[in-house]
């Protein structure tokens, strides 16, 4: 069902973890559809993404697209990072099954959300970037386990 590259990025995900005091953090997706991605970016004064990390709740494709997306933006400028579209992530993974295409969209949105957070924190505007849709809070009642 999955390509070898997807399986590789699922089994050996790159850049798993958090960045303390990250320049920007973006969380997208919701528990209802079963995927939540959080991407952390460390961006230097020249606007270069020095480090990218992720945490993901989701299926094999969700983990693999998060892993690939962080790989694709590391060492890039903000402008270049905006070019990392869901299509680019999918191509880099040698494709995804049709029902999993939404995972790659989520990865693109997570990068954008982290960049938006960075822009907000620094009071700057990034051309071509708009406020992300964040809907991870479903409002379901918490329950004790």
């Amino acid at each position: 069902m999955y390509s070898e590259k997807v399986m590789d990025h699922f089994q050996n995900p790159r850049n798993v973890g958090e960045i303390e005091d990250a320049s920007g953090v973006g969380t997208v997706g919701n528990a209802k559809c079963g995927d939540i991605m959080r991407i952390f970016l460390d961006i230097d004064e020249e606007g270069i993404i020095r480090e990218a990390k992720f945490k993901t709740f989701g299926c094999g494709a969700a983990v693999a697209t998060s892993s690939m997306a962080t790989e694709l933006v590391r060492g890039r400028t903000i402008r270049e990072a905006l070019q990392v579209t869901n299509k680019a992530v999918m191509e880099a993974l040698d494709g995804l099954p049709p029902v999993k295409v939404h995972c790659s969209l989520l990865a693109e949105e997570a990068i954008h959300a982290a960049l938006w957070d960075y822009a907000q924190k620094n009071g700057i505007e990034i051309a071509g970037l708009s406020r992300p849709k964040s809907d991870i809070h479903e409002g379901e009642e918490e329950e004790n386990w």
Binding site: V16, A31, G60, A61, H102
Partner: protein, 391 residues
């Protein structure tokens, strides 16, 4: 390999394969033919029908062979609805039925029927009072599964049958998961129609049956021949039918021993998981449960990821996660229990057979503990949860 997906399908037992083989290679004649090559098949079908009927306390003329459980469910629900439509157009079923029943009910809803989908409690058991309250003068059919395929909960079938009988309503049960695993008797439980398949009890795929109580006016489902007393046309699947009977005989013979063994393993596995993996929830009723069914939700992780990682360790299981269903929605059964979407996505079903061992259960727990731990380490939900605990 450790196979823990026996509710999906089982290994065909060697004695079943052996019983079937002559009906492919030697006695291949059409059972409707006059010559003796055909009548050998006819004779085998009659014997098989007697065996299977006897196992549920029915008469041989009440057993109709189908291509499987799904066809039997479709037939039962559609034909009952059509045959009794003059009395009314209301059907009662539950929210946790197999799609073979649920999608058939939806089909009927588009054709003027009304369907009440009963809620179940937190353990997946139907509330008898709610059932009684749902009955209307125009109710023509109650269809409640014997035991659930995902969570293994066993429904109060005898009580439901008694209610249906008292109110003069037809009662159908989808017994695909229960038949061959636990005792089933159509008279004692007041069952009017019962669906079952063969491949869940070490029989072949592609063969099942519908029990229809004698005297019921249930129309034919497949037209085009006089087979199955004019009710299900098509040349009989002789090897399948013979294999089905062999599987039923085997299941009857082993039921007690097999059930005891599976329950022991099941409870051992449940116990170890509950003790060793935090933030898990057993789905389904703890006691009123099929002998081989284990179903857990692991919080903060997603089922498909768990399945792929288990598969890499040679362990076959299944999940109620959306990603394994081809849709975006997680299991309707788990949602009907009142589970949150996140919990339903994080479910894992392991269904045992008598061939599994305690050592295998130990291996499974060890891998599962590591896999769930690893996935939680990369889960933003777990990160948020840990932070919320510190405050």
């Amino acid at each position: 390999m450790i196979y823990l997906d026996n509710a999906a399908t089982t290994k065909t037992a060697p004695e079943v394969v052996e019983a079937m083989l002559p009906y492919f290679t030697e006695m291949y004649g059409n059972p409707s033919a006059i010559y003796s090559l055909g009548s050998a098949g006819k004779k085998a079908i009659n014997e098989a029908r007697r065996t299977i009927a006897g196992s549920i306390g029915a008469g041989p003329e009440e057993i109709y062979f189908t291509a499987g459980g799904t066809e039997a469910d479709n037939w039962a629900v559609k034909a009952a609805a059509e045959s009794y439509s003059e009395k009314g157009k209301h059907i009662i079923t539950t929210k946790i039925e197999h799609h073979a029943v649920l999608h058939t009910c939806e089909y009927l809803e588009k054709r003027g029927y009304e369907v009440t989908y009963l809620d179940v409690d937190r353990d997946g058991i139907v509330d008898l009072e709610a059932l009684k309250a749902a009955i209307r003068p125009d109710t023509i059919l109650i269809s409640v599964m014997f035991a659930n395929n995902e969570i293994g909960s066993i429904e109060p079938i005898g009580e439901i049958g008694a209610i249906a009988k008292e109110r003069g309503i037809l009662f159908h049960t989808d017994a695909v998961q229960a038949f061959g695993q636990i005792p089933v008797n159509v008279d004692e439980l007041h069952i009017d129609m019962l669906s079952a398949s063969a491949h869940k009890l070490n029989g072949p795929k592609g063969i099942g049956m519908l029990y229809i109580r004698g005297g019921l006016k249930i129309r034919s489902f497949v037209h085009g021949g006089a087979q199955e007393r004019n009710r299900r046309a098509g040349t009989e699947n002789v090897p399948g039918i013979v294999g089905y009977a062999a599987a039923v005989q085997r299941a009857q013979r082993l039921m007690e021993e097999k059930g005891r063994r599976e329950r022991e393993l099941r409870d051992y596995l449940i116990d170890r998981i509950e003790k060793e993996i935090p933030y898990c929830r057993l789905n389904g009723h703890r006691e009123k449960r099929l002998p081989g069914n284990v179903n857990f939700s692991f919080r903060f992780v997603e089922g498909e990821s768990v399945l792929i990682m288990l598969d890499m360790k040679g362990i076959c299981a299944s999940s109620g996660s959306a990603c394994t269903s081809g849709s975006l929605d997680p299991s309707h059964v788990l949602l009907a229990l009142g589970l949150k979407h996140e919990e339903a996505h994080g479910s894992l079903r392991m269904t045992l057979s008598e061939e599994n061992t305690k050592e295998e259960m130990d291996v499974v727990v060890e891998h599962l503990r590591q896999i769930v731990g690893r996935l939680r380490d990369m889960s933003p939900l777990y990160e948020d949860f840990l932070k919320s605990q510190k405050v």
